[in-house]
C-alpha cells in the first residue's frame, strides 16, 4: 500500500492514551529513551526510562533542565600537547529521545540554540543538539511556575513532537520532519483530529492558564531593571543570597562557563576542561591584577538579571527567563524571583515564599 500523502494536514494527530506505552516504545527506534524519572520523594531527574511506566509524567520540574544533555556540567573541550596542539575528544554518536519536556524547557532550549549559534557557533553544543530528539508534554503549573507571564507557557518551536493531555487522549503536534517520521512509526496507533479534539485542546489550555497565580508584567522588566538600578531590592536579596549557585546550575537558560587547563604529570600534555560557571561567584568578574568589577553580591545578582532580561531581549528578542521556577524551588535561602520581579516593577507581591 502506498503511503498516504498528507499535504497541509500532517502536523496534528490524536493518540489515545491506551496506546501511549506502545507509542513510547516505538520511539526507541530513533534513540535511547529518556524522560523524567522519580529518583526519590521530591526528586525527579531526566534520565533513561526504558518503558512508559518508568516516566513520572505528572512531575512539575526536574532538578536539572534539558541543558545537561546539550552542555554537560563538566566536559573535556580539547586534549592538548605541545606536539599536536589542540585536538577534539571523540564524540558519541548516540541519539537520545527525551520524552516529557515541558513548554518552558522547550523554550529554554530554543533560546540556548540561539545563544550557541550567535556570531560564533559552538560546535559541541550543536553536535549534541542534533542528536537530541525532544518530545514535549504539557503540564499543570504549581506555585513556583510563572511561564505564563514570561510568555513561554506554550512552545511553537524547538520540539519534534508535542503531546497535550486532553483527557482520554493526547493531542499530538509535529514540530519537525523527524517528528513526522516518528509519528509514522506509530501510524496505526494515532488517528485523525476531529473538531471535538480541537475543542478539548483549547479547553485544556484555558484550564492550564487559570492555574497560574502570579501577576507579572514581563514586558516592563527590562525597563524596570534599568530604572531600578539602585533599588533597595537588590541589596535585600544580596544579603540573603548564599552565592551557592543552585539557581544558575538548575536554570534552563544559564549557560555561562569557565575554562581551565588540567596538565598531566609529564607537563607536556593535558586536557582543557569546560565547566558550568555561576555569575554569583565573587571571582566571576575578577580580572587578572585583582580588580573586581562586581565585588558586591547585590551587584552580581542585579547583573544576573541584566543578562537574562536586558541582554537576551536585546540580542535574541526574547527574555532569558522562561519562568520554570527551578531557581525558586531550589534556593536554600528562599529567594523568590517572582517576588523580585514584582518588586522591581512596582507590583503587589503575590508569591508565597519558596
Amino acid at each position: 500500500m502506498a503511503t498516504e500523502v498528507l499535504l497541509g494536514q500532517g502536523s496534528v494527530r490524536i493518540l489515545p492514551k491506551k496506546y501511549a506505552a506502545q507509542f513510547y516504545k516505538n520511539l526507541g527506534v530513533f534513540g535511547e529513551l529518556h524522560g523524567p524519572v522519580q529518583v526519590k520523594p521530591g526528586l525527579v531527574v531526566f534520565g533513561p526510562a526504558a518503558s512508559f511506566s518508568d516516566l513520572a509524567l505528572d512531575q512539575v520540574r526536574t532538578l536539572l533542565p534539558v541543558k545537561k544533555y546539550l552542555f554537560p556540567p563538566k566536559e573535556e573541550q580539547y586534549r592538548f600537547s605541545t606536539r599536536e596542539g589542540f585536538v577534539e575528544p571523540e564524540v558519541e554518536e548516540k541519539r537520545t529521545v527525551l520524552f516529557g519536556v515541558h513548554p518552558c524547557d522547550i523554550n529554554a532550549v530554543a533560546l540556548l540554540d540561539r545563544v550557541t549559534s550567535w556570531k560564533y557557533p559552538d560546535p559541541k553544543y550543536r553536535a549534541r543538539r542534533q542528536r537530541l530528539i525532544i518530545v514535549g508534554v504539557d503540564c499543570i503549573p504549581d506555585e513556583y511556575c510563572f511561564c505564563l507571564p514570561m510568555g513561554s507557557h506554550t512552545a511553537d518551536e524547538g520540539f519534534d513532537l508535542f503531546l497535550t493531555d486532553i483527557g482520554e487522549e493526547y493531542f499530538v503536534q509535529v514540530g519537525s520532519s523527524l517528528g513526522e517520521r516518528m509519528l509514522r512509526e506509530s501510524w496505526d496507533l494515532v488517528k485523525q483530529v476531529e473538531q471535538e479534539h480541537i475543542e478539548a485542546f483549547h479547553q485544556r489550555a484555558e484550564e492550564r492558564q487559570k492555574a497560574f497565580r502570579h501577576d507579572l508584567d514581563a514586558h516592563r522588566l527590562a525597563q524596570a531593571i534599568l530604572v531600578g538600578f539602585s533599588s533597595p531590592v537588590w541589596d535585600e536579596v544580596g544579603k540573603k543570597c548564599l552565592s551557592c549557585g543552585s539557581c544558575a546550575a538548575t536554570c534552563p537558560t544559564c549557560c555561562c562557563y569557565d575554562v581551565l587547563d588540567e596538565v598531566n604529570l609529564d607537563l607536556k600534555s593535558g586536557v582543557r576542561i569546560r565547566r558550568w560557571d555561576d555569575c554569583m561567584q565573587p571571582e566571576f568578574a575578577l580580572v587578572a591584577g585583582g580588580h573586581n568589577f562586581r565585588a558586591e553580591r547585590s551587584t552580581r545578582f542585579k547583573m544576573r538579571f541584566m543578562h537574562k532580561i536586558n541582554s537576551f531581549k536585546a540580542e535574541f528578542q526574547r527574555l532569558g527567563c522562561v519562568g520554570c521556577g527551578r531557581c525558586i524551588a531550589g534556593c536554600p535561602a528562599d529567594i523568590n524571583v517572582i517576588e523580585v520581579f514584582q518588586k522591581i516593577t512596582g507590583k503587589k507581591v503575590t508569591s508565597v515564599a519558596g
Binding site: 529518583v39 526519590k40 526528586l43 551557592c244 596538565v263 604529570l265 607537563l267
Partner: protein
C-alpha cells in the same frame, strides 16, 4: 633541569593527608619520578635534613613544638604548601579555640601531669608565610596530582573557590538543607569533593573550609529558622575552620 627537592611533613593532625598522598597508588611512581623526594617520614626511611624547593605541610599548629618545627621547615623551603583543612584553617583541633588551654589540658589529662606545651591552635598561615593552600579532610587525590603538576610547571594549582552546592546540583542530589531540613553547610563550604557526602545522603559538615565570601549570617539564620539551636549551629560552623575565617563572623 634538575628535579625539585620536595619534603612532606606533618604537624598535629590525623596524618590522613599524608596517607592520601601514599594512596595515589597508580600515580605514585609518576609523582616520585617527577620530584626528588628528600623527606617523607611517614613513607620512607633515609630522610634528609636539607633545603626544599617545595614543602607540603599537614596538620595545624597546636603545640610550641609544632610552631618551632613549622618555622624550621619554612626557613628551609622555597614554597610552603599547606595541605588539608587543619593546615589551611586550623581543623577540628581549633574548634575549642575559645577556651583556655589550661582548662582544656586539665579536662583531657587531669591535674597531675602536663605533657604538652599547648598554644592557641593556628592554621599555618597565621604562623608563617604560606604560598599555597590545598584544603580537604583529607585532601583529594585529584587535587594532589594536579597540584603537583601545576607546581612543577610553576603555575598556581587550581582549587575550586565555589561552594559544594554547585557540585551537588551537578550530581542532581536532593537538597538536604531545603528539602530535608538537614544542617547542611554546603552553601558556605568550598567545593572540590564532588559533593561526596550529600551524594550519599549525608549533610555537608564543611570539611573543606569556608568559601572566601561565605555568607555565614544567612546560613545561620536559615538554620535558626529550621529550628536548630544557636549553640548547635555555631558548633557546626566551627568544626573545621574556627582558627581562621569564621572566627569573626560568629
Amino acid at each position: 633541569m634538575s628535579k625539585p627537592k620536595v619534603g612532606i611533613f606533618g604537624l598535629t593532625g590525623c596524618a590522613g593527608c599524608q596517607l592520601a598522598i601514599i594512596n595515589c597508588e597508580d600515580e605514585l611512581l609518576d609523582i616520585v619520578g617527577a620530584v626528588d623526594l628528600k623527606s617523607f617520614v611517614m613513607a620512607q626511611s633515609n630522610n634528609e635534613e636539607t633545603e626544599f624547593d617545595v614543602a607540603f605541610v599537614e596538620g595545624s599548629v597546636v603545640t610550641r613544638e609544632d610552631e618551632h618545627y613549622l618555622k624550621e621547615i619554612r626557613s628551609k623551603s622555597g614554597i610552603l604548601v599547606a595541605i588539608g583543612s587543619c593546615a589551611c584553617f586550623g581543623g577540628i583541633q581549633a574548634a575549642a579555640n575559645d577556651r583556655e588551654r589550661e582548662d582544656l589540658l586539665q579536662i583531657v589529662y587531669g591535674t597531675k601531669e602536663n605533657f604538652y606545651e599547648a598554644r592557641k591552635v593556628a592554621a599555618l598561615h597565621e604562623v608563617v608565610k604560606v604560598e599555597l593552600q590545598i584544603p580537604g579532610c583529607p585532601i583529594e587525590k585529584s587535587e594532589i596530582i594536579s597540584g603537583i603538576a601545576s607546581l612543577l610547571r610553576g603555575d598556581t594549582p587550581l582549587i575550586p573557590t565555589y561552594p559544594v552546592c554547585l557540585e551537588c546540583k551537578y550530581k542532581e542530589n536532593l537538597c538536604l538543607l531545603k528539602e530535608r531540613g538537614d544542617m547542611c553547610l554546603g552553601p558556605v563550604t568550598r567545593a572540590g569533593c564532588d559533593a561526596r557526602c550529600p551524594s550519599h545522603g549525608v549533610a555537608c559538615r564543611g570539611c573543606r573550609g569556608p568559601v572566601e565570601e561565605a555568607n555565614t549570617a544567612s546560613e545561620y539564620s536559615i538554620l535558626l529558622e529550621k529550628g536548630y539551636a544557636e549553640e548547635d549551629i555555631k558548633r557546626a560552623l566551627r568544626t573545621f575552620a574556627y582558627a581562621t575565617e569564621l572566627k569573626e563572623k560568629l
